[in-house]
Structures are given as C-alpha cells and as structure tokens.
Symmetry: D2
Subunit: 345 residues, 4 copies
Amino acid sequence: MIKVGIIGGTGYTGVELLRLLVVHPGVELSLITSRSEAGRRVSELFPSLRGFVELEFSSPDDAALKACDLVFAATPNGVAMHYARGLLDAGVRFIDLAADFRIKDRITWEHWYGMEHSCPELLDQAVYGLPEMNRRQILDAQLIANPGCYPTAIQLGFLPVLVQDAVDPATLIADAKSGASGAGRGAAVANLFCEVGDSMKAYGVAGHRHQPEVCQGLDQVATEKVGLTFVPHLAPMIRGIHATLYSRVKPQGMGQDFQALFEKYYQGEPFVDVLPAGSHPETRSVRGSNTCRIAVHQPEGGDTLVVLSVIDNLVKGAAGQAVQNMNIMYGLDETTGLHLPPLLP
Amino acid sequence: MIKVGIIGGTGYTGVELLRLLVVHPGVELSLITSRSEAGRRVSELFPSLRGFVELEFSSPDDAALKACDLVFAATPNGVAMHYARGLLDAGVRFIDLAADFRIKDRITWEHWYGMEHSCPELLDQAVYGLPEMNRRQILDAQLIANPGCYPTAIQLGFLPVLVQDAVDPATLIADAKSGASGAGRGAAVANLFCEVGDSMKAYGVAGHRHQPEVCQGLDQVATEKVGLTFVPHLAPMIRGIHATLYSRVKPQGMGQDFQALFEKYYQGEPFVDVLPAGSHPETRSVRGSNTCRIAVHQPEGGDTLVVLSVIDNLVKGAAGQAVQNMNIMYGLDETTGLHLPPLLP
Amino acid sequence: MIKVGIIGGTGYTGVELLRLLVVHPGVELSLITSRSEAGRRVSELFPSLRGFVELEFSSPDDAALKACDLVFAATPNGVAMHYARGLLDAGVRFIDLAADFRIKDRITWEHWYGMEHSCPELLDQAVYGLPEMNRRQILDAQLIANPGCYPTAIQLGFLPVLVQDAVDPATLIADAKSGASGAGRGAAVANLFCEVGDSMKAYGVAGHRHQPEVCQGLDQVATEKVGLTFVPHLAPMIRGIHATLYSRVKPQGMGQDFQALFEKYYQGEPFVDVLPAGSHPETRSVRGSNTCRIAVHQPEGGDTLVVLSVIDNLVKGAAGQAVQNMNIMYGLDETTGLHLPPLLP
Amino acid sequence: MIKVGIIGGTGYTGVELLRLLVVHPGVELSLITSRSEAGRRVSELFPSLRGFVELEFSSPDDAALKACDLVFAATPNGVAMHYARGLLDAGVRFIDLAADFRIKDRITWEHWYGMEHSCPELLDQAVYGLPEMNRRQILDAQLIANPGCYPTAIQLGFLPVLVQDAVDPATLIADAKSGASGAGRGAAVANLFCEVGDSMKAYGVAGHRHQPEVCQGLDQVATEKVGLTFVPHLAPMIRGIHATLYSRVKPQGMGQDFQALFEKYYQGEPFVDVLPAGSHPETRSVRGSNTCRIAVHQPEGGDTLVVLSVIDNLVKGAAGQAVQNMNIMYGLDETTGLHLPPLLP
C-alpha cells in the first residue's frame, strides 16, 4: 500500500483526487491538509464522501507529510514549490497538480505566474507528467509536474501530426471550451451560477498561462518552432474540456490517412480513444473518467486539419492523470483505480 | 458469475444499468436486446461505454434470454409482462425496472397504466424490490418489481415515522423535484433542452402513477390508511430527485427525538445515510451513487415534520437498486459493484 | 418625468431595475450610487446596458439624492434604513427593495435580520408594496417596503382562499423553489456555478426571514392566526420562483369552485394571471415579466388544495414590482414600462 | 399599420417573432398559420404570450395571406418557396426566415438542402437581408432571404477586415458555439435536456449548410476567393451564438489599428456594438436583443487576428433581424420595436 498525503484538499481538484483515491486498491490515505478547514471532517465539507473517508483536514505538518510515501499537492499555484525541497530530501515522492513545476524556463514561469520561483533548481528535475509523452521518465520520477487541463487536451490532439511532421507547427490554433470547474472553487463573482449559466464567452485572448506550457511540450516533438494561437472559452457546464484544434497540412501531408495515423499513434494507450472516422466526441462521454477521446477531420479534403479532443478537466486534466502518474511511478497497472465508465447522462 | 441478459437497453435506465454491470465483479453480461438498434454496437450508441462493452444490441430472442441466469427489463411500461411467464418457467430470475409488477391490485394497475395486464396471476408472486422494506423476500424472489424513482425517495423518507406511528398517515404531502432523466430518452418536445432548461414546473398534480405505488408500500406499515398528496416537479437538472416530505406529528409523537429515530431505523443500512441534525442534502451529493441521503427537521418544534430525501433517480431510483436486488438474490455482499463515490462537482 | 435615483445598483436587483427604468417613458434616471464602483460607467459593469445608460456609478451623495423625486434602494438589508429619514424629510419618496421596512414589528425584524433598526418609527408609516393587497395605500405612500420574492409568490397564491375563509389558516405549507439570482450577486462559494448547477437542495428549513413577512401579510386577511411551514429550495436556474402551496380545505369550503374563486378574485389585476383549470405554470412563462401566473388544483377532489404560483423573482419579486409601485404612486397606468412579453425559450 | 401574417408559428423562431411583433407599434398581426395546431389559441401553446395575442393558429389560407401587406415565413426549409410566387404576384411582401432564398446558386442550394427548388427564378430577385451589407436593396425588396444565425455572427465579424483587404480571405476559420434553440423545437433525441445538458460537442465538421451562405456573402467584398473552415458546436445553453473568428493578417495589414477599423466600419450601425479594446463579449449580454457585439484581438501582436462576435440566435440571428428588415422596408426607424435591453442575468 502506498501511504499517501494530500496538501490542500478543499478545491475541486482535491475532492476529485479523494473520489479516486478512496477506492484505489493500492492506496492508504494518510492525511489531507487544509489551513482553513483544519479540524473539520472531510465528509462534512464534502458529504458526497460520507462513508468513504473518515479523515479530518489537518494543518500542514512537515513530519506527518514526510512520513508518507507520496504526497499530492492540490493547492493554488505557488504553494507546492515551498514543500518540494523538504519532501524530496525526506525521500517522499511528490506530484504537484498545480503549475509550479510545469514550465522549465524560470523566466517564462515567473512572467506568467507573477511571482518568484522558490526552488528553480528543481525545474529541471521535475518530470512533466503526461504519460503519453513521458511514460519512461515518470517511472523513476521523484517530482511530477502534473499537466494543466487545457494542455492535456491540446497536446494529445496535436502530438501525432507534429511527430509525423504532417502539419505546419507555426500556425496552430486551439479553440478550447471549458466547464466552470476549471476555474476552481474560490468565491468569485465571475464564477457564480448566474454569471456563467446560459452563456458563453472567451477569456484571456491576449494571453493565457497554458499557452507556453503547450508550446514547451509540442516543441519537443515538432520539426520547427511551434506557433500557437490559444483561445479559451468558458462554457455553462460543470466538467469537461472540448478542444477544437486547427492546423495546416503540409504539402507532404496531403493525401495522408490521418485517421490511421492517429489510431496507430495511440494504439495501446489505455486512456486515449481515437473515435471512428466522422465522429464528434461529446465532453459528457468522458465525464468522470480518465479518457481523452479524439476525432480527426479534414473538411472537404482541404489543407485544414481539424482535431476534436475532449477530456474531463478534473480527471484526465487533473486528478485522474495524477493517479495515472502514481500508478506508473509505483509499477502498478496504469489503469488501477481508473477503470471507471463515464457517467452518462 | 451470474449470466445476465438485458431487455431493452437503449434508454437512460438501460445505459445506467450497463454502466454498473460492466464493472460488477460477479456478472457476465450475456446479451442486451433492442428491436430498434439490433445489430448496432452498444458502444456506438453510447460512446461512454467504449472499452467496457463489446456487445451488439440483438433482437429479443427467447432462447438466448432463457439461457441467462437473470434478466433485467429496462423497457417502457407494459413490455416486461410479456416476457415474465416464459422466463420464470425456464427458471430464469427476472427483475423488471419498469412498473409492470409494482402494483398488487390489478384494477388499480390497469387504471393508472391504461392497459390490460397480461399476467395478473404473477402480481402476487412479484416481490417489491425495496431492500430496506423487503430484504428477506428479495433473497428468494424469482420476480422482482423494481420500485419507481419517486416511490423510493418518498417511502424511505416516511417509513421510520409511520412504523413508529409518530405522524398522522392520513395527511402526508410529498413535494418532489426530479431531474429530466426521469422522463426517459424518448423524443418529445416537452423534454427538449430549451423546454426544460432554466425553468421549473409541477406536473401531474391531478394524479400520478407513483402515488398508488407509494400508498401501497406505506399502507403495509402504517397504523391507519395512508392519504398522500403527491406533487411531482420537473427541475432543470439531469439526475436527481429531491423529495420534501411533510407530515403532522401525532400528539404522542411530540417531544420525540426524530433525528435519533431515523438514525436508529436505518442503522446498518448500506445505502441509506441519515445526515446530522440541521442538514440539507443536495441531490449532487448522491450523483452516480446508490445512496439515499435523508435529513429530518421539525421547524420551530411545531407539529409539522419535514423530511428531506434525495436519491439519484437512475441509480437508487432505478438501475442501482436493481443491482442491489441482484446482489441480495445471489447472496453477494449487498454493496458489490455499488461502492462508488458520487461524482461531485 | 419622474426624476429617479438608485442607491446601490450593482446587484441583480439593481441591474434589473435599470433594465426596466431605461425604457420607461415616464422616468428620467438621474443618478445611481455604488461605493465600490464609483466612477465606473454602469455599462462597463453591465455591458448589456450599453447604449441604454450613459451614467457612471457615483458615491452616495445626499444632496444629489435629495434632488430626486423618487429614490429606489437596491442595497443589502440594513442600508436603506439609514437613508430613509433624510430622504422623506426632504420630500423624496422612497422605495426600498430590500427588507428594512417589510416587518411592522421591530422586535421580530431585529430577530430575523440580526441588527438594530435605525428608524423603527418609520415602520408604521411604510406601506407594504404588494399592489394586489394595498393598492390604495401605495397611491399616497412616501415610503414603500417592496415585498420579498418568496412572499410575493406565496401571498398571491394564498390570498383568495384566506379572504374567503375556505381553508384552514393554521396549517399552510409553502414549498418554494427559487433560481439562484435570488441569492444575489455576492461572491460566495455556495452560489458558484459548480455548486448550484445540476442539483437541488432545500435550505433554511429551520427558519427563513420570509416566513414572518408572509404571515404578517396573510394575518391581515385570515380569520384565524396563520401558521405556515415554509421550505425554500435552490434550483439550478437563473430566474424564477415556483411556489407550491398546500392548504386544508375547511368543511365549508368543500364543494367550492376554486377555479372560479381565483378567477374572480384576480379579475382586472394587470399582473396576476389565473391559468385555465388543470394548468401547470412554468417559471419560464414569466421570465423577464412582471406577471404572476397561478393554477389551482384539488387533487382527486380531496381536502388538500394545491396552488401553483410562479413569478420572475427579479421582476414581480423585486424590480418590476417596485416599478409597478412607482406607477401607482405617480398616477401612471400601472403597466407603464412593464408591458413586456416574457422571454421564451 | 402594417398588416402582417406569419406562416408557421409553432417553432422557436415563430414564438420569438410573435414576442417582438405583439409590442411593435407599427404592426397589426392579422393571422398566424400552423397545420398541426390549427384552431388552437396561440397563447395556449405559448402561455408566455397570454394577454398579448388573442389569435388562434389557422390553416394556411391563400386568400387570408394575400390580404396581408407583409408575410413572414417561420417554417422549416423548403416550405416558404411554395408560397413565394403567389404572395409576390398578389403584391404581398415576403420575408423568409428559413433558408429557401439565401443561396443564389440553385445547384449549390439543392446540394446542401437536399431538395429541388420550386422557384429558382426568384433566387436572383431575393435580397439577402443583412442590413449592414444590403440596406439599400432591402428598402425596395419584395422578397427577403433572412440570413442564418451563424452566417449573421460570422459575416459581421469578418466584413470589416475583408473590405479593407487586411487579412487573407483564403484561410478563414470560424469556430462557432450555439445554444440549443438553434436546433429548433422539433422532437429529437439529440436535443433532449439530458443529451445537451452539461456537455459540449462539435457537429457537422465535414460540412454545414451555413458555410456556403457565409462564403457567398464574404465573396462579395473580398479581394480574393474566400476559403472558410467552419466548425459549429452545440453548447448547453438556450440562446446565443459565440463565433470565434480566426484570420491571417496580410503583410500590408500588420501594424493596422484593428480596433479603430472596426469602430469606424460600424459607426452609426444601430445593432452592431464594437466593444472597447481587450473585451470578451458574453452571449448573455445580447440575450433577447437584436445587437451583435464584437471584440477584436491580435494576440501578442502576431499575424493571427481573433474576432469575437456574439448574437442572440433567435433575435439578430432570426426574428429580430426579420423585424429590422421589415422596419427598413416600410421606412420606419430601424430600431422600432427593437430597442430592448438584453435580459441579464
């Protein structure tokens, strides 16, 4: 049994991580911290977990955390970096579900996250936890930077064609739609039911933190520098990301069977499902599950490739991917605790 | 392994039953029938089940059904009754998720369901599959009438106080709010997104089929004839029933500790959760799970008792309860395959 | 032209009041105050009003307010009472959309609102602005207490039968469902899209401020002391209240034609619409409009009367009713500026 | 007063047209036809219109229609073309809210709409009713092809930059998200609340009827042949289209002030609102109104231009634009009956 601790379990990512871990056969949940809720039973804050978890939230305590095998941080950005050095030195493996270790370049990170990084020397050591890209490094990782939700959906959709050099990396467009849980559980007028409901809007068109994260990942496989226009949108739904990805097919790519290319690329991947030709994945088809479903279209056989990629932002885009990383790190079957049919309708 | 067949798996109850059965460790799913979708892969109609079920829908075939140990009917009302005799005679156990065997009195049934019953002689034999009431009879049942969604939420909320004779059975009120999945997956203008969304309405105030079903159940435990005013409402949500139950405390019931009464009554029940005093259960706290959560209030210590009872109409109100019944019938732990944390948010 | 000022226009009640006033032919909007948004254009905060209002929010300024003919307060509870004396002394008429003057009994008010009342001497003078009850007093009123949203829907549903002494006033039940805009535009976790969406819950079962307000109103017409059990619910919709009202028909009321009773009682009322027998009003049928739609049912001819009453909580339950009161106060046709078809779908 | 008839008023476009016309000061509503609902009161089908319209639906009757000044068709595609010749010959002006006269090229129309056109000789005569493009021709038109909802949002967003030759017309991308009312009021499983709710999906990626309509319009102003990739999405909301438009800035366009370009282009347009630089329009900011709000972004000053364009699909995308066309045709102020603040929240 892996002895697990969670730092910061009061947000949506935290409660989702709990949902997955409390029925994971290889995990013993040891502690879960929250400064604001210390002393309160987890199941009081989240009655959905009554009968599944008896723990109380505790104040962050170094000794208790260091007694764990593995610690997850489900905190706001900028918190995990203050725990990382201590935990790693104590031999505790660490998965950060926030963004502290996602960007390798410190200057870029500090620009987008608006703060100084407290342990930039760990940025190189951190493994970007997208198993479909970095499975081998994850196996031995001590420190995992769990990918962002948009970056997961977008990278999985672009990877196959960039690896094959079939599209122009310089003119990528990602038009992504996210459910409101992506904005977190913080009290903010913009996330009220009456602000989000029955409406759509784009946001962050001038620039969004997930853009450099995607570019960093895709640059590793692309033949040329990646140029990405990323426009996120807020949709009136709770969970789900629908990324609609546009790229220009290179002359040498015309005539290629993109359906076959995607199917071959993701063959054997337990959590990427390439749908039959002509499909349109719905976000609800992955609700509550760790699967990314992808469909590929080349409208009228032209030179614009359209890839549709959907995930549950809280699962494959956060907590589920973190558990997948844990499974890999501990040599478990990668699907352990994650073989859950989506909830539909 | 229980060899299971499903008649009629294209509705919401059917796909929910599939979601539960495909990960149930004691079940081998043998066939699933649909006249309209015969020959089509189940996972084509429900992409959420890709990777979980390889079956195609098949035309209803007597021989194949009779080769099963257990058959579930997830059909519209009036279909299961035509299969029951044949299956039972062949030694196949049968759980009807529709209403064909819920009402013991043939005349009442025919009045509310507007058709002749094809096998009224089975009505007596059928066991009403509410485990919290009839667990022992379910154990040996060949034919189970799986309760309706509203009746499940309402009966579980009224049972303890009627058994204790603490409230007046003649003046019960059940004001119930249901998500739209309760209306099924049939094409109907009234169930369109733009008709249901961002609105509330009552329906069937003049009379609803679930009223006699509830009265039949409660009459078994009440000291006097039950009188129930039942007003169902359609709420703009997908899953969930919230039953708000009003009753008049009898003089001998005044002063009683209703919180303790409920906690004691449901002690040990795996799927009824009595919340702490002062709670207000949310339907989402049981989304995707087989649990019924109940809270008890006596506003200002007066003689009106208010019980709040929530379930997921597709799980405890349909498919999950059917699986619970199956577990009991086959001597499995009652929670087998049903120990699933709700999906929240 | 009535020169109008608004105190506190940044909440949902405020923006709704603006929506109605900017196209009202008899109104000149003079100023709108907000401490937090002073100096910002109203249409910047609410882009829906671009082209309709050029004003900026201003800091509350006594002189400017006193230069108005009429001031509306769309503030949180406990603010309007600090303006009332000054405005009235300056000859300015005042409509409070919050609760400061709704309850005549100071002790009761202070109990439910948890603060000391700053001008209890005005409580008597304030007219409760439910035109269907107090039209004549409204005409000459200097100070209007605009009713709460729940109390509007509930009182309009109970009034006819209490006036006729047809039901028992001591055992009323109001099971009410409200959209989330009723909770206001404040930043609170409980009102987030992901907390409210796809779920239902009751709240305040132990006691809610609107209960004494309803009782105070109904006591004026009932033959005996009113006893009311009031259970409010939060529904996953933006606007709308659906009140489901239960009462026991008195022996002398049995046999009465309740449909005719309601139709007669509300004959000529511009904003109460009694639906044909057998109807089930939807909240969306009044979305954006000042109408209250009512249907009356007597299930199976029994002694429980069920009245369904729907309003838009922001219009008839708040801003629209305030405008209706203004129209009456200034001798305008009562429907001026309010003759708006609901938005459906 | 313009004597108006409506053919086919039972869909969402029809009821929206009614909402606008019943309060239009220049219109006398003469008849509204529906084969399926003939003899039923309009306000029985749509209780939101109680008190606003006393008409019954009538069977389509040539004489009655020919007695009108103006007839609107709010029918499915392929119906209006059978009325057009007769009405025009009788001197009745005709606005088709469906697609029968939108495409000038008969072959193209028949390809996309899958039927033979019954009066192709009228295609040339029909004026495409986008006032911002064709105001002068609308003035004298006898036959108006009211634009599609997507084409309205998309063309208004691309027009200014194509007219100025600032972007490459060959590589346009329109990623559009629509509320479910765009799919109409027909009974279809795909449009059920439980299918659409809490989910997003793309559809018609291989080809959509609105693509050639947009290209036809933009080709009139572009310097080169327009190439458009159009991906529509279904969003879990009732009303609203959010079009996110991508184009490549031409070398000569770099350095241009696109904000100023848009503001100048739409200066004086009553129903196009160019938002301040940096804005992100929400669909709810136009809910119930005839306004199109547009924002322009050039992320990081690169060569990808991003235009955000939102409309209410039932108003500016259908019924409101039809009324705007009527106003122009009859020399009324273009905003008559359309000066309505959006409903927010």
